[in-house]
Amino acid sequence: MTQTLQVTAAGKGDFLPPDPDGFREYVRQNKDRRPVNKVVSEKEAVSRFVSDGDYLAYDQNIAVRGPTSLYREIIRQHKKDLWVAAKFTWTDVSLLIAGGCVSKVDVGWMESGALLNKAVKDGSVKLIEWTNGALAYRLLAGSLGVPYLPMRYMGGTDTFEQSGARLTEDPYTGMPLCVVPALNPDVALIHVHQADVHGNARVFGAGVAPAEMAMASKKVIISTEEIIDNEEIRKQPQRTTIPYYLVDAVVEAPFGSYPGSTPGLYGADIEHWLTFAAAQAQGKTDEYLDHWVHSLASHQELLDERLGEQKLAQLREGETVTEGYYD
């Protein structure tokens, strides 16, 4: 039985070539299947697991449960040439561009202020077009260990032309169908509510795609609001979003989404966002980064020296709705 299918169109956007067997080999050689203690400082996590040139993914964004303490550490360590997945994000990419860390962005949605516009025009940052859903779906493909998945959208658009999607025929019905290549990031940053020292992690609330991202990525750094006992994890296995063997590093980071919210725990700091927006508008993001990143040795210093207990208490009080998260 031989049947021929056509690939009738292909976008011209760059993508990491899917390589399921290469991913498997990486896992076999590098991922520890023992439940060992993976707690490290943000400094060590980023220096060991984020390399210049990496494809970097993160779940959620600078407004909600984004791994912002890790963004800042990446900037602090002057990581370069990152290819970033801007899926359902906000000023996340602009912040990393301000830090000089980014050379390519896969676009779903992002804030597109002066920094991004300038970087696109001067060619220092290259954009590849997808959508929020397409990036999440590419992570789903990556999480299933297959090189691609079919889907029902993106065809017919200029987005398609600037992406790596292809238009194919379904092998069963012959109907036209888009396919997208699996996304297997080099490194994922995922901020969670709770994790144990082995990396068993819990995300509460609507989550975008933390489980898919953890499965799809070669290296996984978890930052967590709190570290809980493995015993606690085992008492409520239903609540685990990510099992330990997917995880490479666990970083304890209370208020690790600041200035964003971690739902159920603390609200966002609107004023901080306005500060960044103003810095961007005035071309003063270097000053912003000096104050909020480079002059501080760690996230803990940011909490102690830039925010202080009163501010943190305020942020906690700002989260007036907590029902459903820790229940």
Binding site: S112, T131, T159, S261, G267
Partner: protein
């Protein structure tokens, strides 16, 4: 208040507020909506939910199913606990996108920067080329999956010549593509889907079933057909009989300003108009 005083009562509102009210007026309680991120489309759905159709169900792309938000909403609604309050499910993006792929979403509710006569729309860049854009925007976000997979798409935008254009600078998300029969299906999209209404502060459009071209079907009381056509970069079809859009009410504006977008962070930034509260005619 005497009758003559009532006649003279006026409302001041922004074009964004007007658009939100217009959309709220066409929300149906027994349907399911897929609403793009935060911002004006979500505010329109929430206004309907707050005042007109309390039981209406909706999902947002990060994976909250049919929440019953806690008003007033925070300035950053996206993903906030107040926005997701009392949902029937918290799940993820791939799950709710799949619900749309399966045909459960009656309506998609979106905003666009620029739109053409076939309802193709742009959220990527304005002017220049893709590589050297005059101004780059944030990208389609979830708009493409919503506009492709929901049965009917409602698109809100501003009625301006640079927004209603013969050819959009970039087709971020699909309308009826080139308008030929089956164009969406040939591109891999589910059949029977497409843009259904384009809503602006001054006018509402649908799409002709045969030609798939945008058609003016309703006017706000404070404008005329001629004024509307003057503000468009292409000439739409025009329905034989133009409906008159409902006048936004003070109650609706209060709900927007006090509970849905407290402080008018988004909605207060538009162009202000003042209308007669009873007739909707332009006042002053």
């Amino acid at each position: 208040m005497t009758e003559s005083e009532a006649d003279r009562a006026t409302l001041s509102l922004t074009d964004i507020e007007a658009t939100i009210c217009h959309i709220a007026h066409i929300i149906e309680e027994d349907k399911l909506y897929f609403v793009q991120m935060a911002g004006a489309p979500l505010m329109a759905l929430l206004l309907a939910k707050r005042l007109h159709t309390p039981g209406v169900g909706y999902v947002v792309e990060e994976g909250a199913v049919s929440p019953d938000p806690s008003f007033p909403l925070p300035r950053m609604m996206l993903g906030a606990s107040r926005s997701h309050y009392r949902a029937v499910q918290w799940t993820g993006m791939n799950v709710v996108d799949a619900h749309a792929a399966l045909g459960f979403m009656d309506y998609g509710l979106l905003a666009a920067l620029q739109i053409d006569r076939f309802g193709n729309f742009n959220s990527t860049h304005i002017g220049g080329t893709f590589d050297q854009p005059e101004r780059r925007f944030g990208g389609p976000g979830g708009a493409t999956e919503i506009a492709s997979q929901c049965w009917r798409t409602i698109i809100m935008t501003k009625l301006q010549k640079r927004k209603f254009v013969e050819k959009v600078d970039f087709v971020s998300s699909p309308g009826y593509l080139d308008g030929t029969p089956g164009a969406r299906e040939r591109a891999g999209m589910p059949s029977g889907t497409g843009p259904w209404r384009v809503v602006t502060a001054e006018a509402t459009f649908d799409f002709d079933e045969d030609s798939r071209q945008m058609r003016l079907i309703a006017l706000a009381p404070w404008t005329t057909k001629e004024e509307v056509l003057e503000k468009m970069g292409f000439e739409p079809l025009v329905a034989d009989k133009l409906e008159s859009m409902r006048v936004p009410s003070e109650e609706e504006l209060n709900a927007i300003r006090a509970e849905i977008d407290p402080g008018g962070f988004s909605t207060g930034r538009g162009e202000w108009i003042t209308i007669d509260a009873a007739t909707g005619n332009k006042a002053g």
